[in-house]
Structures are given as structure tokens and as C-alpha cells.
């Protein structure tokens, strides 16, 4: 295994050299900064080894925001390239790499961590628990995700980017047609991150089933907790499929097997089949928690309980079940015959029914309410019309025969951005504006928030609405250029301009974070929105033990009920007992490094090195098996002191949006 540095860091491409320099400089900057501020110890004890679900949530969110930058930059580059016909800004190879990384990063390394991050922050609090069921596993999940994300991201500057689309269709993605190592990154990095996600799924299922506080029956759970639970069920049912599909892909690429190859009996259709068996549930994995966030936000800012709570629950369960039986709608054109296509057309269209139930329930939650136009609520409001368009075009795609004309055109690209951006990105923004005070003890600036909102929503529609028409005119996806004669030019330009506005919106959001961290008022209520669920019953930012003692729940919207009836709000000091907490652990972080290294060696096909490095994985597992750490206890006095302090400060609060 000779190592050729020239080929590893191909030094002949300005774009890539630029990125390499930027990465090196940023890394040096960060290391120097931390050293200068003497923050290494703090970083290690407070963050890298933490098992606190709230901190893990914050780390997920930070990674998600960073990945949004990367994915967004990819999106902007693509828009720049197709702004005019026959542009020479990117060549075909670059464009292919960029849409591949854009798709993967946006879905797996942006949407997933953002939502899992918010789950981590909110769900244990919403059910009145001290932490998740397996705090250390939770940390490991995060660090595996992180290892996968980092491994995937270095592909742009080391060794070559994957370039077979986020759908990674074989045989193109196999060694027969892409012999470079670029596509190895996809198979290996997604595998590592996927294992992390699977463990998150198991962790939250157990947490939600077993760790609800007294009186919180399933039908009293906040809607975000419900969607998290159902999402995790889908994760557990879908991610193992990805694990196997990726294992097959890895074997084909690294060891010359014949699962999806052209030669020796392989079948490329099997990849498409397995990919979408996972891939379709995956889009609901990202959409359902988003629906949960909207439910919380809409109920809070309409000052009403969620309309049709029960049918909301049944509809998410319905969506979850249906999501497992629609995968073929992504390849109606593969020629499986009218019987197959008919069945899957029907199952797919049926998803419109439970989704519609949710839509109407949201609308009727607002009816007779008092709708407060905070930034968080604005996102939820914009979601309704935008997602509606994405949804109905989805139903159009679902009609197998019609899909023969839409498939792989920009109509499809418009559809999925119209569901993914309102359905995920809007929700994440809504969630961040909503839970920000809970996470950090200060609010995001509402005025900047509105700028962010309007720029982003207008830019989004301007970018993607023209794509419906482009698709109907015959413009295809994944094409790096188009001819002037095609008549696509105006709409493409319009779309590019929209993307700039969109980016400006996101830039305002980043500035908002910066501004708020520096200048926002710290003197705010622990319940600034007059909200309804238990996470608002404790301090902001939340004490590391969450609750002094676990609250008792009597109804849905538990905290609202507590406030209205003035029960359980005041601290009952007699109820305070010692609290048992799990200890921090450096093992997850070490495992992240080991997995990253093994993954890197595998990507470069240095099998011996990978085998040796993977001993580290087993060492980690053994170390964990022999770890009998029982955690520690917080003493009563400490709890009392903390509680008295924040409850006293609460009286002097001057910031409350109420």
C-alpha cells in the first residue's frame, strides 16, 4: 500500500487548494484560540466527555449548523453554475461531486443532527426525566455521527469526493465505473454515522417508554415526544437496512464481490430497492420530528391545546406504518410492471390522508386562538402553505403513470425541496427560536429573526418554485449545464437570484446567533413564552439534574395545567432527595477517533492498517464491558441552593413575551 501524497491531496485545483488552506487555517486558529484561552481542560470535562443530554443536544445542533454551511455552500455553487446557460464555473466532475455531497450532507449531516439535537434537548425534559435511558450510549451516538460527518467532509480535500449522487445508484457507484476511492467515503462514512443513529433510536424508545414521570401516560405526552418516539421506531426499522446495503456496497467496492455489479450475476436494481427501503422512511424520519416541533409551537403561540390530539397521534403512527410500504415510488420507471406500480401508487397516495389530518388539526388549533407572531410561530405559519405545495406535488409524483414524465426532472427537485425545507429547515428554525432560551438562558433577537424569516422564505420560494416549470419544460436534475436554445435561461436565473436571498437569510440567522450570544438580555423568565409543556417548568438554562424532584402530571399540557391551577409550581423542599447522576466518560470520544481512523484507512483501502486500528474498537468495547462506574450523587444542600437561587432570580425577571 504505497502512499502517494500527490494523489491523496491533488494539488492542481484552485477550489480544492482553497478549501485545504481554509481548513488548515481554521484548525490552527481553533487550536491556538483554545490554547490561548486555556480552555482545553474545560473543553474536555464540560463537552467532549459529557453525557448530559442537553449538552449533547447542543453539540448536535452546532454540528448541524456547520453542516448547513457546507451543504448550503454546495447549493450556492450549483446555483451559480446553472445561473446562465453553458457556464464554465464548475465542470461536470465538480458539479457531480457537489450535488452528491450536498444531498448527503443536507439530509444525513444537517437535518438528522439538528432534529436529534432538539430531541436531546427537549424530550427528557418534556417527559420529566433526569436524562435519557443510556446517557453514555447517547454520547457514543453523537460521537459516531460526528466521526462519520467529519470523514465524509474531508473527502473534498483528501483523496476525492464521492460523485454518484446521494442515491449512489449502482453500477455507477461500483468499482467498474468509478474506480477512484471517492465513492468509498460514502459507504464508510454513512455506515459509521448510521450506527450512531440506530443507537439513538433505541435509546429514545426506551427513554420514552420507561422514563416518563409519574402520571404521564402515553396519551398525555407532548406531541414532540410522540413524534420523537414514532421517529425512533422508524429509525430502528429502517437503519439496519441501510447498514446491510452499505455493507454490500463496501464489499463490492473494497473486496470485489458481486452484489450490484454488472458482471458475475450482480443486480443493480437490488441497490435501488434496498436504498429506498431505507431512503423513503428516512424522509419521514426527518419530517415527523419537525411536525412535532410545529405542534408545540402552534399550540403555545395560539394559547390553545392541540386540536384533535388523539387523531394527531394516530396519524403519525399511520404515517410511520405507511412509510415502510411505499419505497417503490422512487423507481416506478424501473419496469417492474403495472401491478407493482399500481400497488405502490395507492399506498403512496394514502399518506396524504394522515398528513392532511395533521394539517387540518393545526389549522383548527389556531382557530379561536390568539396567534402571537413570534419568530418561531412565523416559521410554523410559513410551513403550512409551503409544505402544502410540496405535499400536493408529491401526490402528483405518486401517480405512477404521471411520474414517467416527472421522474428525474427538476419538478422532482422542486418537490423535495418544498417538503424538506418547510418540513425540516423551517421546523429547525422554529425549534431553535423556541427552545433557545431553554438551552442558553437568553433569547434570539426577534427583530433579526423576522429579517431572517422573510429573506429566507421569499428566497426559498423564488429558488424552488421556478423549478416546477423547468421540470415540465424538460429540464433534468444533476445536469451541470444546459444550452441557451433550451429556453430554460430565465427561470434558472430567477432561481439563482432566489438562492442568494435565501443565503442572505441564513447569514442573518448566523448574525442573530452572534448578536444574541453577545448582547441579549440574560434576565429572562424560565418560561418566556407562557408555554404548556414540562420543559418550561424548570430553570433556563436547565440545571444539569433537570428537575429538583420529578413533577407529577395530571393532564395533557402538564405545565399549563400546573400554572392555571397553581399546583406544583412552588418548590416543595421536603420532596428533595439526593439525585443520582451518571459520570462523564471519555470513551465515546476515543471511540469516535478510533472509528474515524479505521474509516479513513478503509476508504483508502489500506486493509491491514484498518484491521490493526479496529483492534481499538474491540478494546473500547471490552473497556466498556468492565466499566462498573455507578455515577455519583448530588447532595440535598447543593440542590436546594441551586433551586433557591434561580427561583429567587425569577421574581426579578423583566423579559417575558407574554
Amino acid at each position: 500500500m504505497g502512499i502517494n501524497l500527490k494523489e491523496m491531496f491533488y494539488f492542481n485545483d484552485p477550489l480544492i487548494i482553497g478549501s485545504q488552506i481554509a481548513i488548515v487555517l481554521t484548525t490552527i486558529g481553533i487550536v491556538a484560540g483554545i490554547t490561548y484561552l486555556k480552555k482545553w481542560k474545560w473543553l474536555w470535562t464540560e463537552w467532549l466527555t459529557t453525557v448530559d443530554h442537553k449538552k449533547i443536544g447542543v453539540m448536535y445542533i452546532i454540528s448541524g449548523v456547520l453542516m448547513f454551511f457546507r451543504g448550503g455552500m454546495d447549493g450556492l455553487l450549483m446555483k451559480a453554475q446553472t445561473a446562465r446557460p453553458e457556464m464554465g464555473f464548475l465542470d461536470a466532475q465538480h458539479y457531480n461531486e457537489i450535488f452528491t455531497t450536498h444531498g448527503v450532507i443536507m439530509i444525513l449531516f444537517m437535518a438528522m443532527p439538528m432534529l436529534i439535537g432538539l430531541m436531546n434537548v427537549a424530550v427528557p425534559l418534556q417527559i420529566g426525566a433526569r436524562d435519557v435511558a443510556f446517557p453514555q450510549l447517547n454520547a457514543l451516538s453523537f460521537w459516531l455521527f460526528f466521526a462519520g460527518a467529519m470523514l465524509f467532509n474531508i473527502s473534498f480535500v483528501v483523496g476525492g469526493s464521492p460523485d454518484a449522487g446521494w442515491t449512489y445508484y449502482f453500477p455507477l457507484a461500483g468499482k467498474e465505473f468509478t474506480p477512484g476511492i471517492g465513492n468509498n467515503y460514502y459507504a464508510v462514512a454513512l455506515q459509521i454515522a448510521g450506527i450512531g443513529t440506530l443507537m439513538t433510536g433505541i435509546n429514545f424508545i426506551v427513554t420514552i417508554l420507561k422514563m416518563r414521570t409519574k402520571g404521564m401516560t402515553l396519551m398525555r405526552m407532548p406531541m414532540f415526544t410522540w413524534t420523537t418516539f414514532v421517529t425512533c421506531v422508524i429509525i430502528v426499522a429502517a437503519f439496519p437496512i441501510l447498514t446491510v446495503a452499505l455493507a454490500m456496497a463496501t464489499f463490492d467496492r473494497l473486496y470485489g464481490t458481486h452484489f450490484f455489479t454488472v458482471s458475475s450475476g450482480g443486480m443493480d436494481m437490488l441497490w435501488a430497492n434496498l436504498f429506498w427501503l431505507w431512503g423513503h422512511p428516512e424522509v419521514y424520519i426527518v419530517a415527523l420530528p419537525a411536525f412535532g416541533i410545529f405542534s408545540e409551537v402552534i399550540a403555545t403561540f395560539s394559547r390553545k391545546t392541540l386540536y384533535g390530539y388523539k387523531s394527531m397521534v394516530y396519524s403519525i403512527v399511520g404515517i410511520a406504518v405507511l412509510s415502510m410500504v411505499v419505497w417503490v415510488h422512487h423507481f416506478y420507471t424501473m419496469g417492474a410492471g403495472p401491478a407493482v406500480n399500481s400497488i405502490f401508487s395507492i399506498t403512496t397516495m394514502m399518506i396524504a390522508v394522515p398528513t392532511g389530518v395533521k394539517m387540518f388539526n393545526w389549522l383548527f388549533t389556531m382557530r379561536k386562538g390568539r396567534i402571537k407572531m413570534t419568530s418561531a410561530m412565523l416559521w410554523a405559519l410559513a410551513f403550512v402553505p409551503c409544505f402544502l405545495i410540496g405535499g400536493v406535488t408529491g401526490v402528483m409524483l405518486a401517480m405512477g403513470a404521471a411520474d414517467f414524465q416527472y421522474h428525474n426532472t427538476l419538478f422532482l427537485v422542486a418537490h423535495f425541496h418544498y417538503v424538506l425545507i418547510p418540513g425540516v429547515v423551517f421546523a429547525v428554525f422554529a425549534g431553535l427560536y423556541y427552545w433557545w432560551p431553554k438551552m442558553f438562558g437568553h433569547m434570539l433577537n426577534e427583530r433579526l429573526g423576522k429579517w431572517h424569516f422573510w429573506l429566507f422564505v421569499i428566497g426559498f420560494n423564488l429558488t424552488f418554485f421556478p423549478m416546477f416549470f423547468l421540470g415540465l419544460k424538460g429540464a433534468i436534475r444533476r445536469s451541470y449545464t444546459f444550452s441557451a436554445a433550451s429556453g430554460f435561461s430565465e427561470l434558472f436565473l430567477l432561481s439563482a437570484v432566489g438562492a442568494l436571498i435565501l443565503a442572505a437569510g441564513f447569514a442573518v440567522f448566523c448574525y442573530n446567533i452572534y448578536w444574541s450570544v453577545r448582547y441579549a438580555d440574560r434576565n429572562i423568565s424560565s418560561d418566556p413564552w407562557d408555554a404548556r409543556t414540562l420543559e418550561w417548568a424548570t430553570a433556563s438554562p436547565v440545571q444539569y439534574y433537570n428537575f429538583a424532584y420529578l413533577p407529577e402530571v395530571k393532564t395533557l399540557d402538564a405545565f399549563w395545567y400546573m400554572k392555571k391551577n397553581n399546583i406544583g409550581i412552588k418548590l416543595d423542599e421536603n420532596q428533595i432527595e439526593e439525585i443520582h447522576m451518571p459520570s462523564n466518560s471519555g470513551l465515546p470520544f476515543v471511540m469516535c477517533a478510533v472509528f474515524g481512523i479505521v474509516g479513513f484507512f478503509l476508504v483508502f483501502e489500506w486493509h491491514l492498517a484498518a484491521a490493526i486500528a479496529s483492534i481499538g474498537i474491540f478494546a473500547g468495547l471490552i473497556a466498556r464491558s468492565f466499566d462498573y462506574d455507578h455515577g455519583y450523587h448530588i447532595h440535598k444542600e447543593e440542590i436546594l441552593a441551586t433551586e433557591r437561587a434561580w427561583r429567587q432570580a425569577e421574581g426579578e425577571v423583566n423579559t417575558r413575551v407574554g
Binding site: E176, F177, I181, V262, D268, S342, G474
Partner: protein, 326 residues
């Protein structure tokens, strides 16, 4: 939301009235594309209804119940839902979905057969073989093979039999009908009919590597007389394709139009499960770190393939990404 509403209305009224929209999907040039368009129009109607209803409701509610200075004291009522309403908004979507399902299934089945009204006419079979990054059309009955263009007679059902020599492609002539995949060692099938003579645009829509964007072809629809003339002319004047030339043809390149007076089906039909594979990974080397390549027994390896590959690598720095020079 008004903006969307207006543009949606504008769009659909333009579509439904059938005037010039420049949208190829709405300007069908044959019965297959027409039946799909009718299905699409049907769905648009219903979707428009859904969008209008939901947006109206949305606009009304948000406007009426927004927080104002006057209603700051208004405390919303406790209400938990309504079974009647729940039933209504479950049932109506089910009805709409049913209204969409029935024609969808009908069309799906219809598309697998010769279009209605053309059953009496004997279809012409054309084998379509896609390779990186070109389209090869074989007329077994006529004994002709063309590359990157296909001539067909008007008003005659064409039975396209699709397969691929390597990667997965999708065969699409939007003016004439929907698309289908072409896959190695697999045969998919598509009936199309063209109403009128003319030139239509066809292409691959399934991403298959560097040369994907340019993987297009032209469909020339001729009168039957012109078509027969073209056939006999091609038969008499076009050169014969040899196996060796064919292997050359399958390399990942862009080519212009070619015509031959025989077909490659004589020695290989890529749709057969045990047909020979013509893969040569060396020709796909790009930038970045080279990975291991696995030798397959039936890999295509002409004597100069290796040389080509080496040259390919040497040139790659000079013009990365544009190996297709046309």
C-alpha cells in the same frame, strides 16, 4: 401565499386551455404522452382544489385570530377536537385519493400495451442500447443500427426494447411519452407512437457519470414513405459495424451520429442475463486517489485499452472534466 395561488392558477389555466406554454409535457406529440398529460391535468384540478381550500382556511384563520392590541385580554377556549370534523377531513382526502387512483391504475396498465387505436398496425421493434454516453438504436427487422438518433415512421407503434451496456440510464422522449430505465442484463419495454413528422428531443435522465449532461439523441419522425426510403438508403450506403468497432464504440466517449447497415445484436444482446460484460474501469480513472480495480474474466480488454487508460490519466490534468470534446 397569494403569490403562489396566483401563479398556480395562471399555470393551470394555461395548461388546461392547452395554449402555448413551452412545457413539453403539456404539448404531447403522440397518444402515449397525451394520455399521461390527461392524467396530469386531472390531478392538477384536484390539487388546485386542495390548495385553494387549505389556503383559504389558513388565510382566514390566521387573519381573524392574530393577536391584536384589542384582543390581548381574550383568553382562547379549551377545546379538544371534533369527531365530525375529523371524519370530514379524513373522508374527503380519501375520496380525492380514490379519484386519482382509478385513472392512475388504468393508465399504468394501458401504457404497457400498444396505444388504443393503433392495435391493428404491426409495431416496429427497435432495440435501444445505452452506453456511456451515447444511445445505440438497432432495427432488427430492417437490419440497421444508428447512434444518437432514431428515425421512426409516423402513426406507427414503436416497440422500444431497452437495455444498457453498462450503467443505468433512463430513456425519455418527453414529447412522445414517459421514461423507462435501461439496465444491463435486463430488458425493459416501452411503446411510443408519434402523431406527426418532426424532430423531437430525447435524452437520458438517470445520472451516469461525467458525460451525463450531454447524453442526448434526436427522434426524427418521418412519413412512412420517407421512412422506407431512409431504410433502403441506409441499407445500401451505410457501412457495416464490426465487432471490433463496436467495442470501440462502447468506450466512455461522446460521439456524433452514426449509421450502420447491420446490428450488433448479431454478437451480443446486452439484455441477456449471461451476455458478455464490457467493462473497463481503467477508462474511468479520474482525479484523486486511485483505488484497487478487480479483474473480471469477461471484462472488455482490447489490446490498446491499457494504453488508452494511461493516456487518459496523463491528460486528465490538462482538461479535467471535459473529456467530452464537442
Amino acid at each position: 401565499m397569494k403569490k403562489w395561488l396566483i401563479s398556480l392558477l395562471a399555470m393551470s389555466s394555461a395548461l388546461l386551455s392547452g395554449c402555448q406554454t413551452n412545457m413539453v409535457v403539456f404539448e404531447p406529440q403522440g397518444p402515449v404522452a397525451r394520455s399521461i398529460m390527461e392524467l396530469i391535468n386531472w390531478s392538477l384540478l384536484w390539487m388546485l382544489l386542495v390548495v385553494v381550500v387549505v389556503l383559504t382556511l389558513f388565510g382566514y384563520i390566521v387573519w381573524k385570530y392574530r393577536e391584536k392590541k384589542e384582543n390581548m385580554n381574550y383568553e382562547p377556549p379549551e377545546e379538544h377536537g371534533s369527531t365530525t370534523l375529523e371524519i370530514i377531513w379524513t373522508a374527503i382526502p380519501i375520496l380525492i385519493v380514490t379519484a386519482l387512483t382509478v385513472p392512475t391504475v388504468k393508465t399504468l396498465y394501458a401504457l404497457e400495451n400498444v396505444p388504443a387505436g393503433y392495435e391493428s398496425k404491426k409495431p416496429i421493434t427497435i432495440h435501444v442500447t445505452s452506453a456511456d454516453w451515447k444511445w445505440i438504436f438497432s432495427y432488427p427487422e430492417q437490419g440497421i443500427e444508428t447512434v444518437n438518433y432514431v428515425n421512426i415512421p409516423e402513426d406507427t407503434p414503436i416497440d422500444f426494447k431497452l437495455t444498457s451496456a453498462g450503467t443505468m440510464q433512463s430513456f425519455w422522449i418527453p414529447a412522445l411519452g414517459g421514461q423507462k430505465y435501461a439496465m444491463n442484463k435486463m430488458e425493459t419495454q416501452l411503446y411510443l407512437v408519434a402523431d406527426n413528422p418532426g424532430s423531437y428531443f430525447g435524452r437520458n435522465t438517470n445520472f451516469n457519470g461525467k458525460g451525463y449532461a450531454e447524453m442526448e439523441f434526436e427522434v426524427q419522425v418521418k412519413t412512412e414513405k420517407d421512412f422506407d426510403e431512409w431504410v433502403s438508403e441506409a441499407k445500401s450506403s451505410a457501412p457495416k459495424l464490426t465487432e471490433q468497432q463496436y467495442e470501440e464504440l462502447l468506450k466512455p466517449t461522446h460521439l456524433g451520429r452514426l449509421t450502420y447497415s447491420n446490428t450488433h445484436l448479431a454478437w451480443v444482446d446486452h439484455s441477456k442475463p449471461d451476455s458478455k460484460s464490457y467493462t473497463n474501469p481503467e477508462l474511468y480513472r479520474g482525479h484523486g486517489y486511485p483505488g484497487k480495480i478487480f479483474e473480471e474474466e469477461d471484462n472488455y480488454r482490447s489490446p490498446d485499452a491499457q494504453k488508452d487508460a494511461v493516456q487518459n490519466l496523463e491528460n486528465k490534468d490538462a482538461h479535467r472534466g471535459d473529456t467530452h470534446g464537442h
